[in-house]
Symmetry: C2
Subunit: 192 residues, 2 copies
């Protein structure tokens, strides 16, 4: 019995190691550098071991994305609860979101740009993703405005942040004005 338990524990450890290593490698050298061979070498196992934990590379990306979503939710909630007033919370939320995207570009990519085989905006959507959206929703309801569906407002708010994050990351927007853009956006969207 305890032998089986130990094996299960070791398997779970190894799975965490795979995800952590993939994330690390992606942040260091980009997702292109995360090949099954390199990943296998870093965890000091052969390639097929990866496939005994995940169906394929997509699922590994998905696992990193879920981890990131959980962290993003935590830091957004922390930022919001440290801010004063509806407007202040919205601004703090935006800053926390963009800060996360800036500090964890590869994880952000896994969450919202790459195909990690995850379902979004459905019942089957994994809990961490729902929760990250909920963290936005909770703090934006009060600035959505009268007669505006909070969910819809949150989607627009999120999409706008996402646009700023990705265009900045992809060097489509000059990085130096990032803060001014964020302020302007929050200023207009959170109109109350």
């Amino acid at each position: 019995m305890s032998v089986q338990e130990r094996k299960q524990r070791e398997r779970a450890d190894r799975e965490r190691l795979i995800v952590a290593t993939a994330r690390e490698l992606a942040e260091q050298q980009g997702w292109d550098a995360v090949t099954t061979r390199r990943l296998a070498e870093r965890i000091e196992y052969s390639q097929p071991v990866l496939y005994s934990h995940f169906r394929g590379k997509r699922e590994i990306i998905g696992a990193v994305a879920l981890q990131g979503a959980a962290e993003l939710a935590v830091s957004m909630r922390a930022a919001a609860s440290a801010a004063d007033g509806p407007r202040g919370r919205a601004a703090a939320l935006a800053r926390a979101y963009l800060d996360f995207a800036l500090r964890n570009p590869a994880v952000y990519e896994a969450m919202f740009q790459l195909d990690g085989g995850l379902a979004f905006a459905q019942e089957s959507t994994p809990q961490p993703l729902k929760d990250a959206f909920a963290a936005l929703l909770e703090n934006l309801e009060e600035v959505a405005g009268a007669g505006v569906h909070p969910g819809l407002f949150t989607e627009v708010f999120w999409a706008s942040l996402h646009g700023l994050a990705t265009l900045t990351k992809a060097r489509r927007l000059p990085p130096e004005d990032a803060e001014r853009r964020t302020d302007l956006l929050v200023d207009r969207l959170a109109s109350l």
Copy 2:
């Protein structure tokens, strides 16, 4: 002399054929399906011919992106000039932008998500890209608001649209509410 001219013309024709075929294939089956082999087969030449026109796959993506930027600028200007009032022009612009992204997902991807080796927001930025941005700027100056730098406002407006476009395309947002989100966004951003 005229022989050389004919050859140059044929080369230019073939280059256009490559770009058009790459675009078509990408729209039909996604950029993953655009391999140098498949592309070569479709234009009925061997692979190395591609490399006599472009440095590599990146440059082909870049060429598709430039074509798309030119078209996007045209349709945004057309939409804006058919609309009435500053607010109406902003709304028409947003709809034209999102409509383009929806109708040409692969081209949109080439422009703003994939690496086509193009420079953005610099002097060395190719003209079509500058021009597409200019088409936005021209029609948004009047709704930027007092004391708000028009360029900065345009960047924010563009980023928000980009967020809506990409999250919808990637099935991160429910497609059915797309129009309501657009209306809400324009409503808040173009506040005058």
